[in-house]
Symmetry: C2
């Protein structure tokens, strides 16, 4: 199992959290997504590490950006 | 035709606008809904005036409140 945490900017409400959660959940191999609206922390658990590019694409698809 | 404008508090992003628009659109007789995210103004056009209670219920269902 793998766990990665990224920080997502621009999420302002629970709908934003849902949008990010849905997109990241669709990445193959992802088994869990936890989003902290206040800090922007998105913790992804997966069978194997997820490529940064796949995470970035999912966050972009949801309409947000990864910080840094 | 009737037009009513209410002010809704708590909308923070486009997802919120969509949630409010969807719920108000479902009120029978409503033909159009325009939401201004910045001001919270929600303008409802309808065949006949919509009861305040129906508007309040729709906004509540979306997860928001009418101001005042």
């Amino acid at each position: 199992m793998s766990e990665q945490t990224i920080t997502v900017t621009g999420m302002s409400c629970q709908h934003c959290v849902n949008a990010v959660t849905e997109e990241v959940t669709e990445i193959p191999g992802v088994t869990g997504v936890e989003v902290n609206l206040e800090t922007g922390a998105v913790t992804v658990t997966s069978e194997a590490p997820v490529a940064d590019s796949a995470l970035a694409a999912a966050i972009d698809e949801a309409g947000y950006s990864i910080k840094g």
